[in-house]
Symmetry: C2
Subunit: 335 residues, 2 copies
């Protein structure tokens, strides 16, 4: 198995992608190809002991930054670490591609270079949302701001495969995010989506209200990319605000500081439950190839986990499974 | 001034609405009319000392429950505490109406009985979202699942009046919830809404990402009712999950329990910052009359604060101000 990693992507570039790749190679005995600036990558590699035959560098003269316009960048920067990596997967020279770089560009690249799976109208990002009971697949996590009802059905189908094959959930509970649990609630699109999902083969349990998402009410949370983005970012913002406020309250005087010191391990354990680095990245499901978006602020551990995740996608033939299930749906389902 | 309160509304009915009304009457020297079952209300009133000339009961033979279908309930239950209360405002026999009852029915009642302000296409719920810096007006908090761009402009205009007249914010910062701050981000509706808001007279500061809402980035947060509902309920769910998890960590052993005991006042102060009962209820802005939805689980203090809030709406002529500003916009703005 060979996984390609965009060595230049993310806030920290080779300083984290290289050690992340080395850790993964050692832990999972797989081959990793690093795309990017050869000199920068090699000088990072030189800092570590690593099995040289397992790590390959493909030099790229260009780089797509977060400031680049996604579509234009993919079209013009043909020798960027991102486009070169995607092409390796397209040409079957590698099994999966991971990047912590420009999200919009990676999604555009997935669509243009790898192409959509036949029958999938809109590929979607599927991060894992941390819940009390472990984690739920949130799909779409931000790829498609405007969705049609049939897209929700596709998201449910793909999220179901992710949850069962990768997260190893038996008969995952799939639901649509809505403003009430009853059928008939919501906006025009979610009302139609409900009806389509009801007829599906996956275990559709109906609507979920946003209040019940964090408690682990369902294993697959289906929504449009606009709503998915709100859910992810609001969660981040509220958690940050709560911890900031608690810190202020807990350091108001010496006695409180002492007490807070005793509780520190508890706080650490708690924060760990919500640590995104544990989950790797967000796969872009629905394209013809394994593609994973790692968090922009990934550290080496997050990169390592994204590689572990990519390996699981390859081993469990997630792309093939999506192709199979979507083809069985037939075309009569499309409204 | 006379405020009408639906004595039957909410999870606890007269057991909290009656003491809430008595506290408000004493604190603000206003007259309160209680609509509902005369016997139940009177037996609650008998438990307290109160200025009898300030509290009036209007007996109603019917009640709208949370199980009732909103539109049908308003049409059929003409002698319900909710419809009777709304009609008192419509007939200028009272200045404002408050209910903690069935939200959908109250919104339908607002539209049917009071009617929309001319020029307002969609009245909206406007709760205050607790932020680190105090609170921001979230509009629409859940009345309209599907919105047109012009509705966002109306929400901005009304939210701006609420923030400046009632929350006393000078030149409130108004923004639209989106998946990125740049113009051109988002779904089809928010892209158009951005352009309309940019031409408005209020202080439109552009888009806000959900992550920045809790920190107090803006004073008025504009979104469709679907998104608003997700924001409110997800916040509730995440806060509950975090506190539940912290409690588990903090009670794992005796030492931690001791330390947590020391921090209790800090936790209490912190929770108080996010206490919805402080803010009263959510006004339904855009109808011809002052109408406030109190939280279903309101206690007496929340009811008292909702009455204080209604008083502020009357005194600051919020309805008249909305009428004035929307008429100045003219009809050319409508896309």
């Amino acid at each position: 198995m060979r996984i390609v990693l965009d060595a230049m992507g993310g806030d920290h570039g080779p300083a984290v992608t290289v050690p992340g790749a080395i850790e993964a190679v050692k832990a999972y005995c797989i081959k990793v190809t690093l795309t990017g600036d050869k000199n920068l990558i090699q000088s990072e590699l030189n800092k570590y002991d690593y099995p040289e035959e397992y790590i390959e560098i493909i030099h790229c003269s260009e780089e797509i930054t977060n400031e680049d316009k996604p579509v234009a960048a993919i079209r013009r920067k043909k020798d960027s670490s991102m486009v070169v990596g995607l092409r390796l997967v397209k040409e079957n020279k590698a099994d999966a591609f991971i990047s912590a770089g420009n999200t919009g560009a990676l999604l555009a690249g997935g669509l243009f270079v790898l192409g959509r799976i036949k029958g999938i109208d809109r590929p979607a990002l599927a991060p894992v949302f941390p819940t009390t009971t472990g984690g739920a697949v949130l799909i779409d996590g931000g790829a498609n701001s405007d969705c049609k009802p049939r897209n929700f059905l596709e998201f449910g189908l793909m999220g179901n495969i992710y949850a069962s094959k990768i997260l190893k959930v038996h008969n995952p509970k799939v639901c649509t995010v809505n403003i009430g649990i009853e059928e008939g609630k919501g906006n025009d699109v979610t009302k139609e989506a409900y009806k389509l999902c009801q007829k599906s083969d996956f275990n559709f349990i109906g609507n979920v209200e946003a209040r019940d998402i964090p408690s682990g009410y369902a294993d697959v949370i289906v929504c449009d990319g606009f709503t998915g983005n709100i859910i992810l970012k609001l969660t981040e913002g509220i958690a940050a605000t709560i911890f900031q406020n608690l810190k202020e309250e807990f350091t108001k005087n010496s006695l409180r500081k002492l007490a807070a010191g005793i509780l520190k391990p508890g706080l650490r354990d708690f924060k760990k439950r919500f640590d995104y680095t544990e989950y790797g990245g967000a796969p872009f499901l629905g394209v013809q190839g394994n593609l994973i978006k790692a968090h922009g602020s990934s550290n080496a551990k997050a990169i390592k986990n994204a590689i572990r995740q990519a390996k699981a996608f390859v081993e469990n033939k997630v792309v093939e499974e999506i192709m199979k299930e979507i083809s069985q749906l037939g075309e009569d389902r499309i409204e």
